[in-house]
Symmetry: C2
Subunit: 353 residues, 2 copies
DNA sequence: AGTAAAAATGCAAACGTTTTCATTTTTTTA
DNA sequence: TAAAAAAATGAAAACGTTTGCATTTTTACT
């Protein structure tokens, strides 16, 4: 046959139009089309219109991967959270994602379930996608992950928990202070028989800071906390309810400090199940002010962690860091502490004397 | 000066090692290194070891964007949900994401808040990142978005709501049947004065299917539903509580069908606030069986939508579709209906006669 | 041991952009 | 209105992989 040479190499993706097709149709060079997308103000209005028209007619969708290959920017930011499933970070994730969209960035998210080894492989996988920056929840991270990021000069930011002495930029509320606030609130109400329900504090700096602060505040008020008053409880309404039920039946304290609102919800349900009268029989405080904490009956006294605000600030910050090319701005000592105000509702009351 | 020619063009990313550096150090060709990652079994064990060693020593992290440029696969899947913030999709997202990780894929997620126009721009943005496939929640989508995907031959899958006559592959529970189930349950208990709390059904096929089915079931039992018994209520515990409080005070029905568990939680709280005795004074059903629905007091009667299962199946399916190169497999008529069993708890009771 | 078949590997041409530098066009200034 | 300055555009060389094809090495079979 005549034409048994390369027939017409079928392009991978349906021969979708590329930048050169657009350029051709608009009667300009590919470079100009590229500029149309990356720095439009560099073009004349007339040229812009021609290109815009051509792009629409062709149904052109640019290939950011090809762009990223050369330009150092992928327009993608990573977010690594312990869990997505839980109410804990839902608002944060949503806010972070929405704000990124405004910056024309996409979010690559992954969860590691408090497993730091898994976090390493997640970070690696994000790096393979050449993310422009990454936000990690908390301060407990494997050095391997941090090192990979540092070597590649990828901006990192720690979210959620503010720590003045953090080695990386961070945005969040002072979790220790938050726990101190609610605990002090109970003490101010006259409680001394206080139980603590906290999750495993290993590789969870938020929980660790909170628990430590709660205990410190008690100690400062000369309140001794018996060992059996400090209970381990995961972030699960179900388990929290079980543990609290047990606690109430066995040896009810007059107040309970919960590691977060999730646990507190479980405790409130347990109290209902045990026919307790809240807050008379038992005062309960949480940390976080999650969805529903204001509506649950009785309303949960807690401390508000402004998740939305943190998410937005974080998105703005990480984007700013990633576009900045001065090494200093990418590693800068940015540290933002957002307020975590006490929200007093009906789940706490003065200890009847 | 002598060396004022291009000094040594500082490579963009810190001169991070590339595939050729690894190849050189391992004494093989770049092609072989590439194969090491993409089809390891094609290499001899010995070669594999040499490359592995070289890669580790160099701290090499491959560039998937560069790869995707040539290979048609980006290893990235998109997930588009109405909202991340809410308990509604949390479990689905988590499951989808985790399962994707097992396939060595990353998840690009975005939310549009029930705004179909925003969905279009989200899909576009995902397409710019050359996702290998995308999962969309529900069946209501702008044709523009669907068209873009079809033109580019990107596998799509509709999640959450099963519909036998869907035009695209779908995995989910039959939402209409789910609503019918809980409604019938109330009818079986003798209720006839039933109120409905549902969100806006525009561009929300789940809500639409549910509401319609609930009404149909009532009609089938010759129960007439007065207009003032059908209330509009967003997916918000807070608003649901307000609306339910109003409803209870004004003209309490004997039972309420809630558009989903979120709303149901709000209604339960409202009942508590109004000092109602559940389920004697009021029976409440939800749809979804979200976190907490089993622990809330009284336990919520609802229908379980197996979010985790759907998420996993969806991830497996979309990955399979994307790797398949037969056009048929990418568009195949895959339709999976997962069971949505009724879960009877204490929020519903027989109507006292 | 020799040959055929199979398995590994190397070569080099893509992939679709961005960007530097040079060139052309437009605007400003004298 | 010509020259200078500024702005817009074009040409072509990257960017870091993957993959079809050719070549070499290994294995299997007489």
């Amino acid at each position: 046959m005549a034409n048994d040479k390369p027939a017409k190499r079928p392009r991978s993706r349906k021969g979708a139009p590329g930048i050169v097709d657009v350029a051709q149709r608009a009667g300009v060079s590919p470079a100009t089309v590229s500029r149309f997308y990356n720095s439009p103000k560099m073009l004349r209005g007339q040229t812009r219109q021609r290109i815009s028209k051509a792009a629409v007619e062709l149904g052109y969708i640019r290939n950011r991967m090809a762009g990223a290959l050369h330009s150092r920017f992928s327009g993608t930011i990573g977010l690594v959270v312990p869990t997505i499933n839980n109410a804990i970070f839902a608002e944060l994730i949503e806010a972070f994602s929405s704000q990124l969209q405004k910056h024309d960035c996409n979010m690559l998210i992954a969860s590691h379930n408090y497993d730091l080894d898994l976090e390493v492989s997640i970070v690696r996988s994000l790096l393979e996608r050449r993310i422009d920056g990454v936000a990690l929840v908390g301060h407990d991270h494997s050095t391997a992950a941090l090192e990979m990021l540092k070597v590649r000069d990828v901006p990192v930011i720690a979210l959620w928990n503010y720590r003045g002495k953090s080695s990386i930029p961070c945005i969040g509320a002072d979790n220790a202070a938050a726990a101190a606030t609610v605990t002090q609130h109970l003490i101010d109400l006259g409680h001394t028989d206080i139980a603590l329900l906290f999750p495993n504090t290993e590789s969870n700096d938020r929980a660790r800071d909170r628990k430590q602060a709660a205990l410190a505040v008690m100690q400062a008020s000369k309140i001794v906390v018996a060992a059996h008053r400090v209970l381990l409880c995961p972030y699960s309404i179900e388990v929290a309810k079980d543990i609290a039920t047990q606690l109430i039946r066995d040896d009810k304290p007059t107040a309970i400090v919960c590691g977060n609102d999730i646990i507190a919800h479980g405790v409130i349900y347990a109290a209902h199940a045990c026919k307790l009268k809240l807050p008379d029989d038992l005062s309960i405080v949480g940390i976080g002010d999650f969805t529903g904490s204001g509506q649950i009956e009785p309303g949960l006294t807690t401390v508000r962690l402004p998740a939305r605000r943190i998410g937005q600030l974080a998105a703005d910050t990480i984007v700013k860091m990633s576009v900045s090319d001065s090494a200093e701005a990418r590693t800068s000592e940015i540290k933002l502490a957002v307020d975590a105000p006490l929200v007093v509702r009906e789940s706490t009351g003065r200890l009847p004397t």
